[in-house]
Amino acid sequence: MSPKWIIARLTFREATRRRIVLTALVLGMGFLIIYSIGFHLINNQVSTVNRDAVSQVSRNEGFNFLFLAGLYAVAFLSVAMGALLGVDTLAGEISSGTVQTVVTKPIQRGDVVVGKWLGYASLLGLYLIMMAGGIIASVWLQSRYAAQHMLQGVGLIYFESLIIMTIALLCSSRLSALAAGGVVFGLYGLSFIGGWVEQLGSILHSSTAVDVGIVTSLIIPSEAMWRRAAYEMQSPLSGLLNMSPFGTTSVPSALMIVYAGVYVVAALILTMRIFTQRDL
């Protein structure tokens, strides 16, 4: 087995042994139960209203809103999970000295970085499958509603969490866990507010505000991935009328997705470079 996969397996096993997976599983299930109860209550309320008065179209708009609201929360949880997993991993092992017996083996330090990234990427993938799958299943089972382009949408949410996890790993290669956490959440906040500035700029036809949003997306493209995901999964009507708070008037382009891909690869290469060159 190559060193990358040995480290990836170790990372995965660590998350299991240190009850990170169990905690995420229990809290995730709690979230899904609450969401399902909420959806059930709203669905019941809507169903008791005269069915003629509430057309199928407007019911679907409501389901789409609730579906995107659920995924919005899942996206945030995935981002938080990616950040928390990433910030302590290298920094923690460097400060404790655990890394010393690992990197003195006949492996490349870059293998440690890639292995950890693969391990956390797998964990995030499974987490998202559980959470997004739970939302999709809950909505479908209760209302037979399925949003469009769900695979692309969930894929983009996954990508968003990978961006944050990769940045967390990058910061962790140079900073302490606490400082890395501060930087990552600071950048996430920047991305979040940049996305809203771009949205509002688009509505108010302010090209400067739109440009500010684009620049923040270039600094950290995570929020742009969510906005693109929401755009993919929003109902055609709310997309047309721009009537959902999760809809978007300034849609991140396909080029932005490509940029985000390059961004992740570049951040990972930079992490490998920093970790390879730094004193341990």
Binding site: M1, P3, I6, L10, E14, R17, R18, S96, G97, T98, Q100, T101, V102, V103, T104, K105, P106, I107, Q108, Q277, D279, L280
Partner: protein, 306 residues
């Protein structure tokens, strides 16, 4: 031409900002040799070991490890390392921990299956192999760390304070392991503060101060090096005491008792002959060899000199 030394450094230097941690380390360790690395706190020992293992990059200087430049992956496959602060993935069991490190060495599963019980037995942890390391005592962690450093049957193993967490039984175990390693021809680079331990295990020692090797000593020749002698004699005069200075220094007399430092024990018969020829009645002559600790103090100085 490939370097035949197990380890060779030339003017290896490390500077952290304004602080010179290692000024210029120059030393050679031969294959199969047990080499002690001595120095006061802050002398740059751990920094030197970290440079040799590729954990930190030297600011300048050159070095080879098993004939290859520092950081060479192929050479690292034949190196073992027990770090000073033995922190490991403590959520793993001892068995899993050794399997992980064996895999990182690229060892085959069949070889690991043989080697792991062998090592666990050697360090006395066979019955605790399924326990997570977080339940281990400090001494047990050091033992499992030692087992980890020997997984690959290394050609050269770096032991950084290998007995700091061990009780006397554990220390004896480490001593026995080092003797066994020497018997098998495995080189050992031993950094320890326990000079008595160094004295009984090492072939040679290097004294390091301010990041420089200030003396290398072959311990087999310890008996030939500087010793002191106390003499009980009657009839000592100032002239006789002055005459004794030709064989040593630091001559001190207190009544019938005389003490002096001599370069080696071989000069004692000559001193005796001289005293008798001067009419001195010699009742006792007691040579006292310097311990490694005394040599250490002489070579690196006391704390006030650091």
């Amino acid at each position: 031409m490939p370097d035949s030394h197990a380890l060779s450094t030339k003017e290896l230097r490390k500077v952290f900002g304004d602080t010179v941690a290692v000024k210029g380390l120059t030393l050679q360790v031969e294959p199969g040799e047990v080499f002690g690395f001595l120095g006061p706190n802050g002398a740059g020992k751990t920094t030197s070991i970290k440079m040799l293992l590729g954990l930190i990059a030297p600011t300048s200087g050159t070095a080879t490890l098993l004939g290859s430049p520092l950081g060479d992956r192929q050479a690292r496959a034949h190196i073992g390392f027990l770090p000073e602060h033995f922190r490991f993935h403590d959520w793993l069991s001892a068995n899993e921990f050794l399997t992980l490190h064996g895999q990182l060495y690229g060892m085959e599963a069949s070889r690991l299956a043989r080697r792991i019980p062998e090592l666990l037995d050697m360090v006395g942890l066979l019955q605790f192999q399924k326990k997570q390391l977080r339940t281990y005592s400090k001494g047990m962690l050091q033992r499992i760390g030692l087992a980890q450093s020997l997984l690959n049957d290394p050609s050269l193993v770096f032991l950084d304070e290998p007995t700091s967490g061990l009780d006397p039984v554990g220390r004896r175990l480490v001593r026995d392991i080092i003797h066994e390693l020497r018997r098998k021809g495995t080189g050992v680079f031993l950094n320890s503060h326990l000079l008595s331990e160094i004295e009984v295990t090492c072939d040679r020692v290097a004294f390091i101060k301010h990041g420089e090797v200030i003396r290398v000593l072959e311990l087999k020749k310890l008996e030939d090096i500087k010793a002191s002698v106390t003499i009980r004699a009657v009839g000592l005069t100032a002239d006789i005491l002055t005459g004794l200075c030709q064989w040593g220094q630091d001559v001190r007399a207190d009544g019938d008792h005389l003490s002096m430092a001599v370069p080696n024990e071989a000069v004692l018969p000559e001193i005796n002959r001289y005293l008798v020829s001067q009419g001195v009645e010699v009742f006792a002559m007691t040579p006292q060899r310097l311990s490694l600790e005394e040599i250490f103090i002489q070579v690196v100085g006391t704390d006030s000199e650091l």
